[in-house]
Amino acid sequence: MSDLLLWISGLFFVAGGFFFVAGTLGLLRFPDVYSRLHAVTKADTLGFGLVVIGLSVRADSLQTVVIMVLVWLLVLASGATACQLLARYAHEEDAPAEEEVHGAD
């Protein structure tokens, strides 16, 4: 495998890692349930997607790439659904939002 490809995949890993760290920081530091959920689901989806791209560049066969993309799609959809579920529960339980940012709801 050429060095160029390795470098490209490395860049994607670093970018993916950045989003995971950012999401974790958001989970720990953001003030209320809704923004924490936003941080963790968005960042994990994007971070994981970037890692999948990085791995795809290194993959031996197209089959591996397809499997990884399918796994990513599954994580994407289940993460989004779980986020909605948690947010809905929090909303029903009147979990305080930092400010009433979701006034349109």
Binding site: L74, T81, Q84
Partner: protein
């Protein structure tokens, strides 16, 4: 081993221990259960790192997923206080004796681990490898579970059945299922067929690769639970004959094979050679169906209707 491996395994091991402590000392029972699920998933990764793919699958499906769901269901059934106020003074008083007992068991477990390296040397691995040709399946773990030590697996199925009968003796509250929600319903319509697909794959693949009845059954049960919680399945009750037949099928088929091999063949669960693969597949399919139904009943089973 590379440095990155050491770092990864070290962090993983540390996280497992930290999570184990966190499960015991979390403020609320609800938080404990969520941490327990995370603990189980990390434990599955540990098994995968050790090369024990069968155990990793079982731990993820049963240890983390299903036990987590069961604990949450039990919490919902028993609790009258809000989640935030649980973990009473009662527990605080029992905490130290419990810790002492856990430490004692821990010491005993570590002691038994010390000799394990030496014991494994002559080991049973050779015996298994030598007999693989007659096992009827290509994966050594499946060969042990369903052929060489099939008796153990039969007893495991009986234990599962007894657990279900035990739970039935407890008066359970009727299941309260939240009103359906379009997004979740749509997602479960995608998720359930996927779970059936993966469950079937695990069952079929179990003959030659990691996988098998328990992992597959847990996945199918998860699909059934998701569908039931979204009102896409009718209530599941022990009083229905169909459910009873499905629950008993695994033990029934296993015992029938055992009795016939004893009566006509070489002995209790010694399968006749040309049919061994077929018999194992038959037992595995029946066991999967029973495990799936039993686990579904344990999580979302409704109490029987009281007849006037």
């Amino acid at each position: 081993m590379a440095l990155t491996d050491w770092v990864f395994d070290g962090v993983l091991g540390l996280l497992v221990v930290v999570l184990a402590v966190a499960v015991l000392y979390a403020r609320t029972l609800y938080a404990s259960i969520v941490l327990f699920i995370a603990f189980g998933l990390l434990l599955a990764v540990v098994w995968a790192r050790l090369g024990a793919a069968d155990l990793a699958l079982a731990e993820a499906a049963i240890g983390a997923g299903l036990t987590g769901a069961l604990l949450l269901a039990a919490l919902a059934q028993t609790s009258t206080t809000p989640f935030a106020e649980q973990r009473s003074a009662h527990w605080t008083r029992q905490r130290w004796p419990a810790t002492g007992l856990a430490l004692l068991v821990g010491v005993l477990l570590v002691r038994s681990l010390v000799g394990l390296d030496r014991m494994a040397e002559p080991g049973l691995m050779d015996a298994v490898t030598q007999n693989m040709a007659d096992a009827g399946v290509g994966h050594p773990v499946t060969a042990v579970l369903l052929n060489f030590r099939a008796w153990d697996t039969l007893l495991e199925l009986v234990v599962l059945l007894l657990a279900l009968l035990g739970v039935r003796q407890l008066a359970t509250k009727p299941l309260v299922i939240a009103a359906p929600w379009a997004l979740l319903e749509a997602w479960s319509r995608i998720l359930a067929p996927l779970a059936v697909l993966v469950g079937g794959y695990l069952l079929w693949r179990g003959s030659n690769y990691p996988g098998g009845a328990f992992q597959s059954g847990a996945l199918l049960a998860a699909a059934a639970v998701v569908l039931r919680l979204n009102h896409l399945l009718p209530p599941v009750r022990w009083s229905s004959w169909g459910v009873r037949i499905l629950v008993l099928l695994g033990v029934a088929v296993f015992l029938t094979v055992a009795i016939f091999t004893h009566w006509l063949g070489a002995g209790w669960l010694n399968y006749p050679l040309p049919f061994n693969g077929l018999l194992i597949l038959l037992i595995e399919i029946a066991a999967t169906v029973s495990i799936a139904t039993t686990l579904t009943l344990l999580v979302v089973g409704e109490p029987d209707e009281v007849r006037a």
